[in-house]
Every structure is written in C-alpha cells, then in structure tokens.
C-alpha cells in the first residue's frame, strides 16, 4: 500500500504566458478512490491530460510504481496502465460491443478477424464489470448511457489498466446506474486499482471517495482524507472563501396562474397537466427517461403534441415551433448548452442576441446590441474581458450564464430551465441560483427540471414528479423530502 501507483510532483504547465498549472502534486495509492476537485478552469482536466499523455508538462515529474517515467503520448499512458473514461464516451455507436472493445487491437489470424475469439474474450471482459449478460454482438447505439460507460470501463480493464480516471462519470446516469457504477468502483478498489474521480457532485464524492485533492487556479491546495472532512471545508478549499449559503433564500411572491398545461401528450409523455404561477419556481423531478425534457420540448413547440393545450395568461397559445413559443413569451435553457444552447463559434454578443437580434428593418443595430449585451454581462456577472470572444472560450459556468442571458434579453414570461447547473462549479451554481430567484421575484414563471434532488427541493415552490411519462405527484416543496420525491419518481405510492 505504500508505493503510490502514480505520483505527480511539481507539475507546471503554461499555454503561452498563461499558467494553467503551477507546481501541482498528486498521488494515487493502490486501492484508493481519489477525488480531484476544483472549479471549472482550476486545471483538473489539464492535469489529467498530462497524466494520459495528451499534454506534456513544462516541469515536474511523474512516477509510476515509484519509478520515474515519461508519458509523452496516450500510448505511453496505456503502457503504464493508465486509462481515462471520458464524460463524452468514446465509442462508435454503429459498431457492436465486441468491435468497440477490440477497436485498434483486433484479434486476427493472418489478417482475418477472429470473431469467435473476440466474442469469447469480450464476454470475459464484460464479466469483470458485472455485465456478463450483455450480448457482445449488440450495437452500442442500442445501449443506455450507463451500459456504454460500463463497456468503456471493461475496455480499459481489458487493457490491463490499473489507474482509471473517471471524468464526471455519473453526469448522464440514472440513480440505479449510479449505484451499479459505485458498486463496481468499490470492487475495483478491493482489487487494488486506483481511481481518480473527477466530479462536481459533492454528495457522491463523500459517498465513494477515500481522499480529496483540490486545485484552485492552477495551484495545488491540498489533499485531505474524506472521513472527518466537512462539506464546507471542501468548498472553502475550492473557492478560497466560504459561500454564504449553498441555496440562496427567496421570499416567494406567487401571482396569478400564468401557464396552464392541460393533458400534454406526445412521444413518451402521457397526459401531463399542471399550472404554473407568475413568480413561482416549479421543480420537475424524475429519473432519467421519465419524460421531463420531452415535456419541456412539447411545451416549447419543439416536438409535436399528440394531445393537450397550453394556455398563457388565459390565452391559448399551444406553440407549434420554437419561434411561436418565443413570440408567446417562452424561454428555454436547454440541458446541453454546447449542443443546443450555444453557437460555439459565434461571439458572446452574437449568442446573446440570437433569439432576437436588435435590428431595424432587418438591419442589425450594433449599438443597441452592444448595449444590451453589456447590460446582461453586468447583470449576470459574466466574467469575460470581451464580448467579442467566442462562446467556446468561456468556462462552463459562464457559458451557462450566456445561455440565460440569451433568454433574459427577451424578458420571457415563462422560463423553462433544463438542468440549469449541470457541469457548473460550486461558485457558478450559487450565482445561477441567485439569478433564478431574482427572475422569480420579478414575476417570471419558472419551470425548473433538475436531477439534483437537493437543488429541486431547495429552489422550488412546488415540485412536479414524473415517472415513465406520467405526472405521479405534485408536492409542496416546503416540507417535501427526498424520500417522498424518490418514491413518486420510481412509481411508488
């Protein structure tokens, strides 16, 4: 247990004159789950890219099993048994499980694929992650995200990885899949593997990790054993100060009924009805696949309704396209800001004004646009030097604020938020909660979908719980418990 599997010491890395890592130490013991934490931009991913041979450090050394090694390419990392499980999984959807497991190292005889041998070995590899019942001939695209992740872990283990780096592994998993993953992680720990666990999810880290290392602005803040460690202390290490409160308090000023959704159906959603008042935050909870995002898409006119109608301030609107929804007064902050929320190549300014470009007779009014963007940057505390920077260059939290800014520019009457704080660091989350509260206080009706139960409970006035496309409960958030929400979300009574 004494010789670390991996020891990185004094790692420095700069991109041009910007120092991304300044003397970072990191050590991973055999049989350890080690959380790597820090706000977005703290240098976690750069550190892991150095460990996996994607970037070369400017200074500092890496030891594997106590011996100094040079990891210059991803192939070197593989040689030393270091594997990374990416947040965006690296599998080819149109190929089978076995094809993916052996991609690039196919078993062959005289250039002919030995499918039988691969299938047999695939089953062995899958058994190591408890997936022996999965057919290796199944196409990846037919698997759930959780299963795909298991396949990726199986591939890493099959390649004799002893160090597994997991980047936000539970971001797209259901509760059940998360539990399965944690069970596997514990088994791997028993087998003496080392696991680097990169995540923002505090509850998970306290549940599964043995030690926590924190980076802040490229500096190594420290490593602490989890037992006896307080949540507040970790936050303080990450942001350098104590946050006032994790969820800011809002005095609800609930107004008239603003949005009335009646018998909404379409796709996986069946007959969902609810009312949303001005100034109210209605949380939507449920497991992955419960139809929450689909419900939002139906209301926003993105997908076709098979039944139901939408009434806004007493007038039936039932949008048939996003542009109709926007004209009616809806805004929609989507779940996946990179794929759906932003045009990454466009500037911050152009992204903010995309739903409605300030213009006269089709001609862009640059002065008005600049002024509007400046105002929103200030109001939402978007940290950037320059509104002409591409959206791609902003941190996750700032990108999410740009998506919010986009809709605030339209002064929506109803704002739909789908996982508004996913992938956003602790400080950024608190700021987004503040913005949500401010909007509600200004009378905006907010429909907030979230998979983080503490967030739903703390931020909402009422909670709509969905299960398999149906609304199973409508709870008053004050007094509701995680258990009550989970019971409804799993279809229990």
């Amino acid at each position: 247990m004494n010789t670390p599997l991996v020891r990185m010491h004094g790692i420095h890395k700069s991109f041009g004159p910007v120092k991304v890592l300044e003397g970072v130490d990191f050590e991973l013991l055999p049989g350890e789950v080690h959380a790597l934490m820090g706000e977005n931009g703290a240098g976690k991913s750069t550190l892991m890219k150095i460990l996996t041979g994607i970037h070369a450090p400017d200074a500092g050394g890496i030891e594997v099993d106590g011996r100094a090694v040079a990891i210059a390419t991803p192939a070197d990392a593989e040689k030393y048994g270091i594997a990374i499980i990416h947040q965006e999984l690296n599998l080819i959807p149109s190929l089978s499980v076995a094809d993916n497991l052996f991609l690039g190292r196919e078993v062959h005889r005289f250039g002919l694929l030995d499918r039988r041998a691969m299938k047999r070995r695939a089953t062995e590899w899958l058994a190591r992650v408890g997936m022996e019942r999965l057919d290796p001939g199944m196409l990846i695209e037919r698997l759930s995200v959780g299963q795909q992740q298991m396949v990726e872990i199986a591939r890493a283990l099959g390649q004799e990885a002893r160090v597994l780096i997991m980047d936000e592994p539970t971001a797209a998993l259901t509760e059940h899949e998360t539990a399965t993953l944690f069970k596997l992680i514990r088994e791997l720990r028993e087998q003496g593997k080392g696991i680097v666990y990169v995540s923002h999810r505090m509850e998970e880290i306290f549940a599964i990790c043995d030690r926590i290392s924190v980076l802040r602005d490229g500096q190594f803040v420290g490593t602490r054993p989890v037992p006896g460690l307080g949540f507040d202390e970790v936050v303080k290490m990450m942001v350098g100060r104590t946050l006032d409160a994790r969820y800011p308090v809002r005095t609800p000023k609930i107004g008239e009924v603003r949005l009335k959704a009646e018998h909404i159906g379409g796709g996986p959603v069946h007959d969902v009805s609810f009312e949303l008042h001005a100034g109210e935050v209605l949380g939507v909870a449920g497991l992955l696949g419960a139809g929450r995002t689909e419900l939002a898409r139906l209301i926003f006119g993105l997908d076709r309704l098979s039944s139901g109608k939408v009434t806004l301030d007493g007038i039936e609107v039932t949008p048939r396209s996003p542009s109709e929804a926007i004209r009616a007064g809806f805004g929609f902050v989507t779940e996946d800001r990179k794929a759906q929320g932003l045009v990454l190549d466009l500037s911050l300014r152009e992204n903010v004004s995309l739903p409605r470009v300030p213009a006269r007779a089709g001609l862009v009014d640059r002065a008005a646009e600049t002024k509007q963007t400046r105002g929103l940057i200030d109001a939402l505390k978007i940290r950037t030097r320059d509104m002409e920077l591409e959206a791609r260059s902003l941190s996750g939290g700032n990108q999410q604020k740009v998506v919010l800014a986009k809709w605030l520019a339209l002064k929506p009457r109803v704002l739909i938020l789908d996982e508004p704080t996913r992938g956003v660091d602790v400080g950024g989350k608190a700021e987004i909660y503040h913005i949500i509260n401010q909007l509600a206080e200004q009378g905006v009706a907010i429909l907030m979908i979230s998979s983080e139960l503490p967030e739903v409970l703390a931020m909402s006035d009422r909670i709509l719980v969905m299960h398999e496309g149906h609304a199973t409960a409508l709870l008053d958030a004050h007094g509701a418990t995680q258990e009550a929400v989970m019971t409804a979300a799993t279809g229990g009574k």
């Binding site: 991109f15 041009g16 004159p17 910007v18 991304v20 931009g41 926003f300 993105l302 396209s321 996003p322 542009s323 929804a325 926007i326 004209r327 929609f332 989507t334 794929a339 759906q340 929320g341 932003l342 045009v343 990454l344 190549d345 466009l346 152009e350 004004s353 995309l354 739903p355 409605r356 470009v357 213009a359 089709g362 001609l363 862009v364 030097r385 920077l389 591409e390 791609r392 260059s393 941190s395 986009k406």
Partner: protein, 314 residues
C-alpha cells in the same frame, strides 16, 4: 486558459489573412517573372474572367456558411442563360428575358432549399440530383446547340466597359460583393446564416426559422448563379447547354481558399473574393509563364489542398 483561446483566435486570423498573403505573394512573384503580368490590360482581363466564378462563389459562401453545399450552381447558370437567350430569340425584350432568367434561378435555388429543409435530403445529394436534372433540361431545351444572342443591348452586360476601361462584369462583381457582404455582416439574415452553420439545433431552439432560412439561402445561391449565367451568355453572345460545367467546384474552391470552413459557421465573404482572385491570377500566371494546361491543374489542386490542410489546423 484565456490566452490559449486568444491563440486560436490568432490562428483564425492568420488563416484568414493567409489567403490575402498568398494573393500578395502570387502578385509579387508573377510581376517579377512575367513582364506581361502587371499591365492594366492583363489585370482587367483577369478580373473579368474571375467575375463569373466570384458571383457564384458569393452565393456558395452563404450556403457553405450555413453548413450546406450547392453543386447545382453550374447547371443553374446554364439553364438560366439558355432560357434568357431563348426568350430573346423568341422576340421578347432584354429586360423581360433577363428578369425571367433571374426569377428562374431564384426559383431553382428555392427548390434546392425545399429539398434540403422540408425533404430532409443531404445538401450534397439534393443538389447533385438537381444538377443532373437541370443539365438534362438545358440540353433538351437547347437541343444541344448554342442559342445565339443578337440583342446588342444585352451584349453590353457582359461585354461592355465603363469609361472605356473597366469591364462591366467587374462592376457587377464588386457590386454583388458589397451587397452580399452587407447582407452577411449587417443584417439579421446574415447572422442567422452563420448561426445555422455553427449549430443548427441551437439556432432552432433560439427561434430561428430554419426552413424558410434555407429556402432563402439556396435561393440566393440560385439567383447569383443566374446572374453569372446572364453575364456569361452576354459575353459569349450565345447560351450553351454545357456552359458552367465544373463551375461548382471552382466556386467551392474559392470559398475554401478564402478561409471559410466547409463544416459551416466560420468564414467571411472577403475571403471568397480573395479566393476567386487567387484562382484567377494563378491560372493567368501559369498561362503567361507557358505552363502546360495539364500542370496548371496540378498546381491548382496543390493550392487547394494546402488551403484545406490549413483549415484543418483549427
């Protein structure tokens, strides 16, 4: 971190300026190597030759920026040219004939847009189909033989001069450049074109109406191809069914050389103008230097490959 991205911005700028630097270098080299190059006559001749490709390439820039491709431009050029010439041969006036040609180009472009948006056909396949179809229509309309133009007023469009010096097509080219440049940079339409190419889903969710936009984008490309068709027909005094064969590739080359990304969302119109000029002057220089036409193709191909490789550097 931040500078890392400034660096990518600098690379983008360099890539964009790359085509300009390339054009300047080519200019200097050709001026030194051939005494006939740097003469008013030669330069204006090249500009006139470039104008046809440039007109088409401006439309192509919008299509490519929006993440599409239009292979039917050369075929639209041929059909609109033939219809314009045919109407005049049937005794109609020049304005009506040219107007009909332009309207037809616009309409054919809109058909492309409809196939791509409503029909959900991949742009490459949709416009490959219309390209083949329109070629066939042109051949049957002209019965394979050129339609001569006798209207002397019409002949001025492509053959006339301003102040006995500057060919009219060059004026059309710069006028189209200014209008299209303004359309791209100064209007909501242009903003939405780039947004669609950058991330169609995000644009749709922001309320950009994708289908009408695509009709307009491909319509614009068709309209500009028709403009090129009219200029070419006018300059040649006749419309030929085979006119504009391969022009789609020259136009795409000009757009890509100019630094516009083939995957959409990144690019500029000025680059396309520079790209078209680069191709024109390269052809001209190689001619002046007496390089065989076989090798000319090789050189052109190499230049395009280098440009695409630079684009991949992002």
């Amino acid at each position: 971190m931040t500078l890392h991205f400034d660096r990518s911005r600098a690379i983008t700028l360099l890539q964009r300026l790359g085509s300009v630097i390339g054009l300047v270098l080519l200019f200097v080299v050709l001026s030194i190597m051939s005494p006939d190059f740097l003469t008013t006559d030669n330069l204006l001749t090249v500009l006139r030759q470039v104008s046809i490709n440039a007109l088409i390439a401006f439309g192509m820039t919008f299509v490519i920026l929006a993440g599409g491709i239009d292979l039917s431009v050369g075929a639209i050029l041929a059909l609109t040219g033939a219809v314009t010439a045919g109407l005049m041969a049937a005794g109609h006036g020049m304005l009506l004939s040219a107007g009909a040609g332009l309207a037809l180009g616009l309409l054919l472009g809109i058909v492309n847009g409809a196939l791509v948006s409503w029909g959900r056909v991949a742009p490459f396949i949709a416009t490959l189909g219309t390209m083949t179809l329109l070629r066939g229509l042109t051949l049957s309309y002209t019965q394979g033989s050129p339609i001569p133009v006798t209207n002397s007023g019409f002949a001025l469009i492509g053959g006339g001069y301003v102040a006995h010096l500057i060919p009219l097509p060059v004026i059309w080219m710069f006028a189209a450049f200014l209008v299209c440049g303004f359309l791209l940079r100064g209007t909501v339409f242009g903003r939405h074109v780039v947004a669609i190419g950058g991330n169609e889903e995000a644009a749709r969710l922001s309320g950009v109406r994708i289908s009408p936009m695509k009709l307009a984008i491909y319509g614009l490309s068709g309209l500009l191809s028709a403009c090129a068709g009219i200029v070419l027909t006018s300059r040649l005094y006749s419309a030929q069914a085979t006119a504009g064969a391969g022009y789609e590739l020259d136009a795409i080359a000009a757009v890509v050389l100019g630094g516009t990304s083939l995957s959409g969302g990144r690019g500029w119109l000025f680059g396309t103008l520079v790209g078209a000029l680069l191709i024109g002057f390269l052809n001209n220089g190689l001619n002046l230097l007496g390089v065989s036409s076989f090798y000319q193709q090789v050189v052109k191909g190499i230049v395009i490959l280098i440009a695409v490789l630079l684009d991949r550097r992002q």
